[in-house]
Amino acid sequence: MYDVVIVGSGASGGAVAYTLCKAGFKVALLEKGGLMKREEFSKDELAYCRRDFVTPNLFDEYHTIEEKVEGEWVATPSYESGWSFWNGNIVGGSSNFMSGMLHRMHPDDFRLKSKYGEIKGANIVDWPIGYEEMEPYYALAEELVGISGHFETHPYAPWRSTPDFSQAPTKENAVVKLLDKSCKTLGITPLVTSRAVLSASKAGRDACYYSNFCGSYGCSSGAKGSSREALIVPALATGNLTLLSNTHVKKLHADSTEAVSYAVVVDTITGEEKHIKAKLFVLAAQAHETARLLLNSANEYHPDGLANGSGQLGKNLLFSGGGSGQGELYKEGLMEISFEELMTTGLFVNRSVLDWYFIDDPKEGRFKGGSVEFMFEHQNIISRASKDNKDEGKLVWGTVLGERIVKRFREQKSIRFEIFNDWLPTDDCFVALDPVHQDKYGMPVGKLRLNGHPQDIKVGEYIAKHCEKILQQMGAQNIYASISSAPAQNLVAGGCRFGHDPKTSVLNKECRAHDVKNLYVADASFMPTGGSVPYTWTIYANALRVADAIVRHLKST
């Protein structure tokens, strides 16, 4: 029997495994996908970005997606639509493939209801902990994961217990000269992006080599702070970790009302089913899959699903509000920098804007806003070659197409912004079990009802207008922005919100199930509201916080 079984090896699973193994506990880390080592990754666009190379085939494993069509909720299997909600199912999870633009949540994100009040149709609550309880773990994650950056004072930048990042920022393309100047002309403050990418080698991981293909790809130097590189590799070195890849967990078994006794797992290669016992279980999957697993673990002791005494399991699923926009910089009219500098490959744009994190606008009012990241258009070659082949809705082909493709690559570079704002929790965004569809292991698939709150769009559009002005100031052409209520499937949280009251929350403040004494949830599903930054730093930090609670729990029993 293990001391602890962890389900999922992404950001949260790796953080819990690291802490527990360092503390001397015997841990089994279960991952449904396979193990890919650093040396096995490549920049193969076809495999990683255009095929289901690191995610399940949707005809084998899928979700049903419920959207409102003409007033009725209609569920469509994702093999029908092709809209996959899987994100990097290998050891280390989707942290292998992140772009790594990470931010801490703001202290007011922990008390959104107190600070900004109710919003009609949104289930906003304050968190049961404050930023001051999370801050030491943000700092710990910064060191362990290896987050590079440079702290600059800003009214909306969260306070830190350490003066600055120990890793200097990653190298920057000269376009930041133009971007910085344009922002300053408009009275906007650009900040250096904190990034989970090493600028200097550290503990067996080599510094970034600026491959030009970072997000969506595994890192071949170990610079990217994936769970695998930063946490699982050192956890394995303790000798206390058993890594079980290709191990899919069907359900957890509780033979009393109080405790889980074993996980029912399937070897995804052989199909063999077995039970894995432990004193304590930690769920660390994607948020929607954690809720599904707990719902699928219903039995006579837990008829509505494990840890679902509140009836809140799967409710208040979160994504990220916002959207993106883009503009093209051409040689002609380019200011501040040379075209050759602009076209230099590999270096990061490395700029974030927090000026609209909180908005107090004379016309629009006072409301919570969001954060913005600037970057170049993804440098994938096939996708860039595919972007300019339409004229008034008709395909362009022949010699004209060849000219367009060459021009697009040689004569311009597209700069882009991405907006992250709160996806407000509502009654119409949740995960439940689909009553009809089952995966290849015979378990009901997750049915995701997706509906964004109108406020999410309002905020995104407000910020997008300001970002478009920055691109205009930079001299960009063909500027556009797209703010959508369709969620980004790689930014998912909620479904097991934590809180003080067992009647209204799934987990307590230490992310232990209110109902089940030896069950913790360490992934993003604990979040009752999501903040306005990408989730990953908060996932790492909270999992390290939960792991400390688990250590105290194990030592006391």
Binding site: F41, S42, K43, D44, E45, L46, A47, R50, R51, D52, F53, N57, L58, F59, I65, E67, T76, Y79, E80, S81, G82, W83, S84, Y209, S211, N212, F213, Y217, S220, T345, Q379, I381, I382, R384, A385, S386, N389, K394, L395, W397, G398, T399, L401, G402, E403, I405, V406, R408, F409, R410
Partner: protein, 181 residues
């Protein structure tokens, strides 16, 4: 066309129904193929049509280097044969080529360039034909601009032409396996 792009393009989550039942001629026999051998036989039947369309879309006198359409169609066959490829799109590629031929009494490949242009533009007027032509363009661009290891972008000739280069490390093996033809 990636599946999510399909949703964006057509505005429907019912991609599968569209691919299967969108054919004006009521085909959809290829959606019933079970074995990989069946796919190989079926692909050979439509291969000349696919090659003719590719040659028309990416002609010899373009700014892009010319591609050997036989090599491109081999790439298509290999990538579509792999288990990671969406089986609906695989069948749709075959079905759409059959429909194009049927619209021209199985003489599409022998049309002149001008006639092909008229034929393809007419096919594009149908939502099914438009989706199929988009799919053909996507697959062909994948062939041309993939890593040289996939066989078309020899000596990085397509990357050189546009001045873009794949990152390092390059793949040491093809995810679809080695070529044994």
């Amino acid at each position: 066309m990636l599946r999510k792009d399909f949703i964006k393009k057509t505005g429907t989550m019912k991609r599968r129904s569209f691919l299967i039942f969108g054919s004006a001629l009521g085909l959809f026999t290829y959606f019933k193929l079970k074995k990989s051998d069946d796919f190989e036989v079926a692909f050979k039947k439509v291969k000349p049509t696919i090659e003719a369309v590719q040659e028309h879309m990416f002609p010899q006198n373009s700014k892009l280097p010319s591609a050997d359409s036989k090599q491109v169609s081999l790439f298509l066959f290999e990538t579509m044969s792999h288990s990671s490829f969406d089986k609906d799109i695989r069948a749709f590629v075959l079905e759409g080529a059959s429909e194009l031929e049927k619209r021209h009494d199985n003489h599409f490949t022998s049309l002149t360039a001008k006639e092909k242009e008229i034929a393809l533009r007419a096919y594009e007027e149908t939502s099914y034909g438009s989706a199929w032509l988009s799919q053909m363009m996507t697959l062909t661009l994948e062939a041309l601009f993939s890593d040289p290891i996939y066989g078309i972008n020899k000596n990085e000739k397509y990357w050189n032409e546009v001045g873009a280069y794949g990152g390092l490390p390059r793949p040491k093996q093809r995810y679809i396996g080695t070529r044994d033809v």
